[in-house]
Point group: C2
Chain length 372, copies 2
Amino acid sequence: MTFKLIKTDEKCAARVGELTTPHGKIQTPVFMPVGTKATVKGLTPQMVYDCGAQIVLGNTYHLNLRPGSEIIKDLGGIQKFSGIDLPCLTDSGGFQVFSLSGLNKVTDEGVEFKSHLDGSKHFFSPERSIEIQNNLGADIIMAFDECPPHPCERSDLESSLKRTHAWAKRSKDAHLASGNWDKQQLFGIVQGGIHEDMRRMSVEAIEELDFPGNAIGGVSVGEGPELLREIVSFTAPMMNPNKPRYLMGVGRPEDLLDCVEMGIDMFDCVMPTRNARNNYLFTSEGQVRMRNAVHAKSDIPLDANCDCYTCKNFSRAYLHHLVKADEMLAPILLSLHNIHFYCKLMSQAREHIIIGDFMSWKADFLNRIKAN
Amino acid sequence: MTFKLIKTDEKCAARVGELTTPHGKIQTPVFMPVGTKATVKGLTPQMVYDCGAQIVLGNTYHLNLRPGSEIIKDLGGIQKFSGIDLPCLTDSGGFQVFSLSGLNKVTDEGVEFKSHLDGSKHFFSPERSIEIQNNLGADIIMAFDECPPHPCERSDLESSLKRTHAWAKRSKDAHLASGNWDKQQLFGIVQGGIHEDMRRMSVEAIEELDFPGNAIGGVSVGEGPELLREIVSFTAPMMNPNKPRYLMGVGRPEDLLDCVEMGIDMFDCVMPTRNARNNYLFTSEGQVRMRNAVHAKSDIPLDANCDCYTCKNFSRAYLHHLVKADEMLAPILLSLHNIHFYCKLMSQAREHIIIGDFMSWKADFLNRIKAN
């Protein structure tokens, strides 16, 4: 086992754990900054470290199209290529194939799609996804799944679920055959939409394959915060508590804390970096729009409770000026802050689970960010 | 005197000096990275330090329009505002008023112009330029001068020169009256186009005002590298050798070295940052276009002789990937390298002037960059 449970909260399902990978140990719950194209947008690797990131996510779909996974393999794998000397997780490309590319044909064999870059034709199967992820060489890789749209007819969801489970088995077989089983942990993905019975069916099928970790997929698009909580509330308890549980593509700080409470260990989301590029910041006192003229003469830091490079060195007036002047330093400093905020939020959660006051700390935290 | 000559080369006019400012000492010859809008484009202050920068330039024209010099004054001046804790120099705004804005009317009193941002009307005079520069609070500020176009009729140049000299006197008077004379060193600017006799006339008029430092203006636009060398070759020797000589807006690495040889002490240029954003890099082996497909699989650093963060941590293949993927990290890492390259070039020049082999080192350096 590479996952060790350190403490579970007495009043809820929140827990602290430690996940061991070839590139180091990860303390959970953990937020994984998204480095789609082998870079966390706007941040140097040093900045990523300074934010407190423990692991970075890369996107198989994007890296396969550009620069190509063989190039990354030849250059020593994703960590050496990107210069980010941290554990890395790659997704399977499934989500992007279904949401971003031009879909040509989906069969039990796999998915034929057109590149969103140049319209060129590509084919992803569980075997090809694993091959690409083997090339990229991340510490944690994901089974190739089908991502049905939401809403989706129940009958369509049932056949999609069958395909996802068959693809999970083929992903495992391909990874076993690759010789990389011990170097790269393959996680399974639970689908099943908004239906408790179908999530249960999916958990059972995925757990049977005995992956070293399991993910909840299909909750990040379109469901909204209430449905997200509902799905996680009935799905997480079904999942093996001795393995890491990864909730894919979620979400806002309050979503993360609610899901930590329900026993989720791992998160990723583009929100901190994407929102930062739109000058939308997360702080301990709630959200801040840096473009707002109210900041033009403000000598205070973005977040007085934050010890990131941005908050320690610059005034809101300066950050506002950079935004208005469309200077590159704006998305750099603001992305740095948002990523730091997410990483620190998870480190605080771990700390409060350990000392035993997670629920009251969380209530205080949510009250503060909602008051503003 | 705030400028101390440490050594002058025996075979040429190159010299090493030390310029003392309220924010620290500067070793010359020095390259000053341009931070037009109170940020060196794409670099955090920490990166600017790590590049070896000793002083940063800010633009009065831009900062006056946005965020406004009064805001920067209220927030403690340009260093505190930008977070760049280094000596700072601001230009007078003259060059931008004549090259960038919509000119309405130029009289002996000053220049009426339209903002390039919103078309709003503004008026710069020597007194207003000094007032703005007093507000910004840089360690070195510049007299307000007229920047005639090139080419320019001799008779037009003569009347422009008279105006520049009258404005230099008014700049000095305004700065004396401000009470900031000791906190901010005011440099004069020599104009006179391509004509030796007019440059001499200008040097005499400017030297008579006894500024603590003197600049050569009007050589960076349109003249080309040969004329640039010619102008500097006859102008620099006319200038007081006991004061720093600043060549404004120049240039390529080879231009800098040739002008160091002719006794220039200070340089600024947007070239390293602007070229970096166009993926055009300066290296010890000559120029490199990072977009070129030849780098797609290249495992070597951008410059094997460079110890900047970019060259120590990333392959050309990765930098090429970032460029092709239009990732923000590309202009960040490439700007960092180019600025580091310029700063290191000047530090090497100082070192070789001190040890006495500047001319042979320079010849070797130029041979290497021209061979590729």
